[in-house]
């Protein structure tokens, strides 16, 4: 091999390595890779998000998926992208989310399309502790659907290609930090889908 071809060959080898390295890092940063954290039913939580205790991977994923998140003392975040049977949330379906108050000073449940609010104009992306309509026993039910004005609590799925829910617990009680699995996370039940007969 000529000297020029040898240099080219090694350059290609190095480029392959760089592509593999950067590509595998980006795969994790966009949230496709394995993540740490705790599963609580279909919800997942990573207590290190936002704080200064997280490792390099937690910090990098936070930067790309949840920049300016708060440390666990102030807020914790649970994410769900599937129903109780593990099926991915789908804007063509309607769901019932049910729960009660959480061990925190304030809470909210917000629907996102990927990492952003879905591009609709109904102003129904969330329910929160101050506005949710509760039953006499303190429990609540919310309808997660493209449209449902008749429900006491409605969270919109309209115009969402990649729906997921974020449960925020602000100023969580100590028990949440000690044992996130003890949090009575909301249930997510699929009711029907467009095209069902």
């Amino acid at each position: 091999m000529s000297r020029g071809r040898v240099v080219l060959a090694w350059g290609l080898v190095a480029a392959l390595g760089a592509a593999l390295g950067v590509g595998s890092a980006l795969w994790i940063l966009v949230g496709r890779g394995p993540t740490g954290g705790t599963r609580v039913g279909v919800w997942s939580i990573d207590l290190d998000v936002g704080g200064d205790q997280g490792g390099r991977y937690v910090r990098a994923v936070t930067a790309t998926q949840g920049l300016l998140a708060m440390a666990q003392r102030e807020a914790v975040y649970f994410v769900a992208d599937a129903d109780g049977e593990g099926r991915a949330l789908d804007a063509d379906c309607a769901y019932e989310i049910a729960g009660a108050d959480f061990p925190a000073y304030w809470w909210s449940i917000t629907a996102y399309d990927g990492s952003y609010l879905a591009d609709n104009t109904d102003d129904r992306a969330s329910v929160d502790a101050t506005s949710v309509v509760r039953s006499d026993d303190g429990s609540w039910r919310a309808r997660l659907a493209r449209r449902d004005d008749s429900a006491a609590n409605w969270i919109s799925l309209d115009a969402s290609a990649s729906p997921n829910l974020l449960l925020r617990l602000y100023v969580p009680e100590r028990s949440v930090l000690d044992d996130p699995a003890s949090v009575p996370v909301p249930t997510i039940r699929r009711l029907s889908c467009e095209g069902d007969t």
């Binding site: 060959a9 090694w10 080898v13 190095a14 392959l16 390595g17 760089a18 592509a19 593999l20 390295g21 950067v22 595998s24 890092a25 980006l26 994790i28 940063l29 936002g50 704080g51 200064d52 997280g54 390099r56 991977y57 910090r59 990098a60 936070t62 930067a63 790309t64 998926q65 949840g66 920049l67 300016l68 998140a69 708060m70 440390a71 003392r73 102030e74 000073y105 304030w106 909210s108 917000t110 996102y112 990492s115 952003y116 609010l117 879905a118 591009d119 609709n120 104009t121 102003d123 992306a125 969330s126 929160d128 101050t130 506005s131 974020l166 925020r168 602000y170 100023v171």
Partner: protein, 177 residues
């Protein structure tokens, strides 16, 4: 190719991939934060200036996973010319001030639980803090980096609450000791 050369090539691929992978993971928070700082400061009209975001909608959201129930204000603090005084008024519902350093870590939070009447801090680098005495009733906070972001969150889940919060938060200060 001879086996030895194939082995050498595989080794180079592995080493370069490892370095590129770790480099990307380590560098990404600072890169993302630098972009966010620039965008926020441009919109606020400079550093050490509050940007009071309008009620979050799908059409105006600036940051990933914005909550539509909170009124957000952001200030890119810059301690190059000295410490920064950051103040915010109290509010009947939840509110907080969070400080983020250049590699994204949330290193300080004050809220209605810790400071119901509002927050008043003097933010300084370690070096500046050693040569500074904060006035009485002002908390001295040491920043791990020279620039970063201060973020206010006021609970305002309805349009009416948002209007009320918007009046209150205009009294907040950022920068200029």
């Amino acid at each position: 190719m001879r086996p030895r050369r194939v082995g050498g090539a595989a080794l180079v691929v592995a080493v370069v991939a490892l370095v590129a992978h770790v480099g990307t993971v380590v560098a990404s928070p600072r890169v993302v934060m630098a972009v966010a700082e620039k965008r926020l400061a441009d919109q606020a009209g400079g550093r050490n200036t509050w940007l009071h975001a309008p009620r979050a909608t799908p059409q105006n959201q600036q940051v990933v996973r914005t909550s539509p129930d909170l009124a957000y204000s952001a200030c890119v603090w810059d301690l190059s010319d000295g410490p920064a005084r950051i103040t915010l008024p109290g509010w009947d519902e939840y509110f907080s001030l969070s400080l983020y350093q250049a590699r994204t870590d949330n290193f300080f939070v004050a809220s209605d639980r810790t400071s119901p009447d509002g927050v008043d801090i003097l933010l300084a680098t370690e070096q500046q803090a050693a040569a500074t005495t904060a006035p009485d009733d002002v908390q001295l906070v040491v920043a791990p980096s020279t620039t970063g972001v201060a973020l206010l969150r006021y609970l305002a889940p309805t349009p009416a609450a948002f209007v009320a919060v918007d009046r209150v938060r205009r009294e907040a200060r950022c920068g200029g000791a």
